[in-house]
Symmetry: D2
Subunit: 444 residues, 4 copies
């Protein structure tokens, strides 16, 4: 019965090495996928007469027992990986005569590549859902705040008036591009490497299209060497997640800033903040800070996988095993961050009075003044800028404009109204953009 | 005439700060794009009656002078950036009355975002060309080597026989996915932010669709705040380039290994190696080493841009300026690496005899033996593996098989022939894959 | 008794947020340190009459119960962190009247900073031990191989003969600099932030020097704001670990290359390789590959912590919590890698015959020939190089030298012997270096 | 005269490869060092009778001509690197009979390693100066603001009163640790690899200690293989610079926040900000933003060099050339950032009234209240926290304390005064810390 010990960790490797050879969390993550692959492969072997109906039936029955028992019945720590562990359990349950045939025309190299793709595509679908939840929530908050005036920033300086809706839509649009990238990623993930065996395919008459079909893949990773050694899909995934996290960290930073007493523009919900027992009014934006920080962790995962894959010769090398925990880390953080952000945006209280009050600080109306000068007096743009600069600098009244025009030029609400070009903050234009995005969202 | 000094660097900033505020190479990179944007914007201002026909004509004439003079006539070092420099030159040439109107309804914030996209899309088209050149060259070398036997590797150990063509196709397919990513990137790059002004759009009745059309963009970056502050397209670009470099570094590593006396499987062309005056036969694979090394530089560029954009609040911040040099670095390296790799693959001499000789080292035929046992004797896969392992270990002949079958099982060429499933190394299957890829390549 | 719920996670935060707010592994890592800090702080409070003898005694008794019960008696998942959890357990055990006083003049901000430093310094001492084990093993293998000739490489090309001992000493010396960096790091780690409270110290008359002394620290992180927000020691730690891993990855790469059939210069021990059941002679250098791969993970940890700390305003921010898991990851990998490398180097079988045979490939003696020409015939170095280059290129005999001199010039062993300058490979010089290093090692 | 073409770039390498093989800026950076090395090596060759007095004299004269002519007389673009270029120029100037002897017992491998170390140690000394300038400036501003009350932050929330001096000292202390790291780095940089030749040293009777001495090195990189292939000093350098930049980015972030209208606590000097022509009062903190952004670039340099050196086999590989531009980038940015920060801190106007006014926002005195309760009423710390929390929450007066005690507890200046433990913000303690640091600074 020595044979069931394939992939069993050798005793002479001591504890310190053991942890090195294993990646338990990653193994758990792909357990379900491994059973799916085993079943599809067995059925294909049967259909192509590589194993007999009886053998297939015994194998499938054994797999069912493992499925029902769950990962708990496996002695995961004793094996190099989940694949060796499942096969050994199978042989233990149903004997070698049948169980020893399941791995025919297969290798752990194509098996693990297939499992990772199955587990990842499932996560990508969840990410798409969570991303759309967040987009929906942002759109809802935008809709409520089409007329909520606030200062727009450049260089963190108050620059020109805008509305909260207009500001939120900027984040919505960034996340929409993330959705596009996720979608393309999904289709590059959902391809089957199965049948590539160790890297050189097999002399058994297998049917790769059949396992592809059974496992719900859209296509093959055709070349068998490419199939086992390609991990660009995994790096692409973490780079897409990194860009999502980059976007979330920008929004998180704004929530932190806006909820500071310095800006005092929003109040975050109790559910996403911590208070000290002693300063109950002080709400620490912990969740926003953690999303900001965990962006660094996902970047670190990206650095790691890129570095690992650099200059890696064909075909399978054990280094590839170290990639999966980074994928799992990055996808887990991105999922949680999307959900956390949805909760924060959904629950934040907008302090519209305080936002409006900020518009009286700084020289936020200077651009409007200059534009008015250009329009009303035909002065060149640069000249108008110069005049307004001097006027503000010297604290005097602008002589070129009459009282009424001046008043109009200096009203923040009118200023926003005037900026009604495509993509601008005027309430009418913002409502148009919201409607268009609601339709798009309902179609995803 | 003080007005032409907009964006002119203040004297009180000393040398040390100067270099900080500028990024000259990046400015040169977008000079052409800047003139295109100026012309399109001017024409649109005219069409929408924001400036007069006469003013437009004077401006366009001034821009033509600058275009003809070239970047050399600009005093680039004296200004913060190319945009300020061009505008000042224009005002110097044609006066403020007309020149002072060109920047109406615009800001450097939307201008620079537009210019980067124009410069980048041009590079992306070049990258697509270079990538296809490399793919074509790989395909050609594969075609020549459909029957060139070589050891396939796992863990850098000799594992099973394959062919050079099959191995090269693995790289071809990886690069084909890079092409897909480049293509998607191109369409996300080719969008117009122009008209967003500082971030809040403008009260002038501009037509953003018109400048989009004039500049050959496929669409708008609609929301004006998103338009000036979004840089995900730039990060996506460097992540796509990083994955290309990752692929090239893997191929470069193999060229280095294979041309070492240890493996002795290829000889690189003189044009891509260095020799010492004293060891003329020793060819150092410098170009391959540099491609491998520069992969690290592109990864560094990616780390930099991700880090810079983390937690960046809306809308424009000066930090964004620091992104462009990284984009330029990454795109330049990727272009050169693609061309260099094309030259290396195109010029390498395949030492097929030496490759073939490697097949006698190691136990490369073990898998074939076991598969034969399964097929001929009906022994379970795991059991067959065990038997072959013992046989090899003990150095004895395998009793289960007759002489002829054994000989067939141990012939590397037949071994490769047998592996004719989809994606496998058998010459027939490889020829099928090559034909399919040639057709695909001719269509791009 | 609501009070014991300080830091207890609020129910309204759902599961997805929970995992975000916690870092359980990191909490476990600092549990011992937390009890040490609690005890030292309590004793200092007593000595400075901030709490009474009776209160101190009750607190210390409660802490003893927790220490004896171990981390298992804590309800870790229900709290934000280990500190809140321990304090709550204490209050549960001994009541609020005494237990509610332990945290006087303290905050979780200085507490956690202190705990991380205690846990880290302990790991640093282990790392120093493991590093010295590896250095000792390398020295031993060098001593055995002072006369083992092998090809030295540049550009992975065979370049000049050297000895395995000389090659191994290069790695030894690199690791010796790692030891210097570890030592300096230890002293920058071993400083006490305790007493800084939230960041502004406290109005209670505490004695920071006393807790420093009780906890075995060498000094204070004096400024209280710096004390809670400084994490440069942690980044320095991961950068030192990254450099160690860089060195180990270089050695691992060589072990992988040398144990490939291409080079065939060493054989790794069974304990550190995997074999397939079917190819028993093929030994996959899994441990070396994993060390190489995990180098990427430690780099990723470094990227993460640097990114997280970029632009982090004073003083404590929740982001800091995300640093500790990266520290734990990096230190764990570095420890295991050092031990794994010691095992690999200690157990590898040197194939000296095969190494020696490589010296006949390539033009490894060209430099010796040229040097002989310079010495014997007074020809300038560059001219000699040119002559030798032509001679080798044309495959003819060198006319300037007589038979005996030529033979001497071309003997690899004599070539190595001749290079006896400080640091060179001649056996005498290498023995001198080994002796010097053995003495140094015995003193650490 | 073919011989002077050593290292001359081959014609058959086209433009695209050319840029790959060169790193001109890096070459310029080490030009001075290269001449120093040439001179020291020549003198040592003479002293050890490897070349004649006449030959040495001719060589040194030729080197003098190159030194006087400067880098401009070299045809840098035509050669692979500065070393080949200088040697070729020398042979052109003085002929091969003498010039062809300069490179005796040397290789570009040890030459370039030596040059980088010389160029780097010079930069490190500058960095130490600039760092001390910044430390001195911070100390001066701290001294002026010992009693300037300001809110201290946790989670960017206003938390407890402190002083600007106390806050600034936190940055001072962080930079002091950077100085320690720079100092240690300097001593690990300042070691001589010269004499290692290609990697195997030389059979000529050179004296490595003599060139070490002549070049002002403190010791040798002894083992000759280590000498040419070690680059840990370079990685350590960029990691030390990364930590400096991390510290500067934190300070830069605070300057950006504090000079925003949201916080309005400082005003930056005109010399370090940009204003738009139209909003003269709005000062964009460009320099602070660029320091923040360039931190990402230095991190990118670190990622690049770590990645490049991962798994790099011994000894010299062309990859190493790609490291130097990153070193140059990182050191240049760090120098400029230190100077820029010194200018910003030195020139910033402290808005002490506005800072003081912030202390009335939020519940900044809550901790003081609780501490008073503990001290005055003997209530346990946790209980006191609970009471204060309820009192603030319900907006009522605290009953346990009389009017006078309450008033005292709520006075920010008294609050700061009370926190006089080591490292605390009380003016007396801060003055003590300043004095101690001034003494330390005067000794560096």
């Amino acid at each position: 019965m020595d044979i069931i010990r394939r992939g069993r960790l050798k005793k002479q490797i001591d504890e310190s090495s053991l942890e090195f050879l294993q990646s338990l969390d990653a193994d758990r993550w792909i357990f379900d996928a491994d059973l799916l692959v085993d079943k599809a492969h067995t059925r294909m072997l049967l259909e192509n007469k590589i194993i007999s109906e009886k053998e297939a039936s015994i194998i499938l029955d054994g797999l069912k027992q493992i499925e029902e028992g769950g990962i708990e019945i496996l002695e995961l720590e004793a094996y190099e990986d989940i694949h060796a562990c499942v096969e050994s359990k199978l042989i233990e349950l149903i004997g070698e005569e049948a169980g020893g045939r399941m791995h025919t025309a297969r290798s752990r190299n194509d098996e693990v590549a297939t499992c990772i793709r199955i587990a990842l595509r499932r996560e990508e679908l969840k990410l798409i859902d969570y991303l759309n939840d967040l987009r929906g929530t942002i759109l809802k908050r935008a809709e409520e705040n089409v007329e909520t005036l606030m200062p727009g920033f450049t260089h963190l300086q108050f620059a020109q008036p805008t509305t909260l809706a207009h500001h939120l839509l900027a984040h919505f649009d960034a996340l929409s591009r993330d959705l596009e990238r996720l979608d393309a990623l999904y289709h590059r993930t959902n391809l089957s490497p199965l049948g590539a065996a160790a890297f050189a395919s097999t002399s058994f008459p297998i049917d790769r299209d059949r396992t592809m079909e059974l496992l719900g893949f859209e296509g093959l990773v055709e070349n068998s060497m490419d199939a086992v050694s390609a991990r660009d899909f995994l790096i692409e995934a973490i780079s897409v997640f990194s860009i999502i996290m980059m976007h979330l960290s920008r929004l998180a930073e704004e929530l932190i800033l806006w909820s500071s007493q310095g800006f005092d523009m929003i109040e975050l919900d109790d559910a996403v903040t911590s208070t000290s027992s002693i300063m109950p009014q002080k709400k620490n934006p912990d969740l926003a800070e953690l999303i900001r920080a965990k962006t660094g962790t996902v970047y670190g995962d990206l650095t790691a996988v890129l570095t690992i894959m650099k200059a890696m010769p064909m075909s399978y090398n054990r280094d590839l095993q170290e990639l999966t925990p980074h994928l799992l880390s990055a996808v887990t953080i991105t999922k949680s961050s999307l959900r956390g952000m949805t909760k924060m945006i959904g629950g934040m209280r907008v302090k519209s009075e305080s936002m409006r009050a900020k518009l009286d600080l700084g020289d936020l109306m200077a651009t409007d003044l200059a534009d008015t000068l250009v329009r009303e007096c035909g002065i060149p743009f640069r000249t108008a800028h110069k005049i307004v600069g001097e006027v503000i600098s010297e604290g005097r009244r602008i002589e070129e404009l009459d009282e009424a025009t001046l008043k109009e030029a200096l009203d923040p609400a009118l200023s926003v109204d005037r900026r009604k070009v495509t993509g601008g903050p005027s309430p009418r234009e913002v409502r148009r953009m919201i409607d268009k995005r609601k339709k798009a969202l309902s179609l995803t």
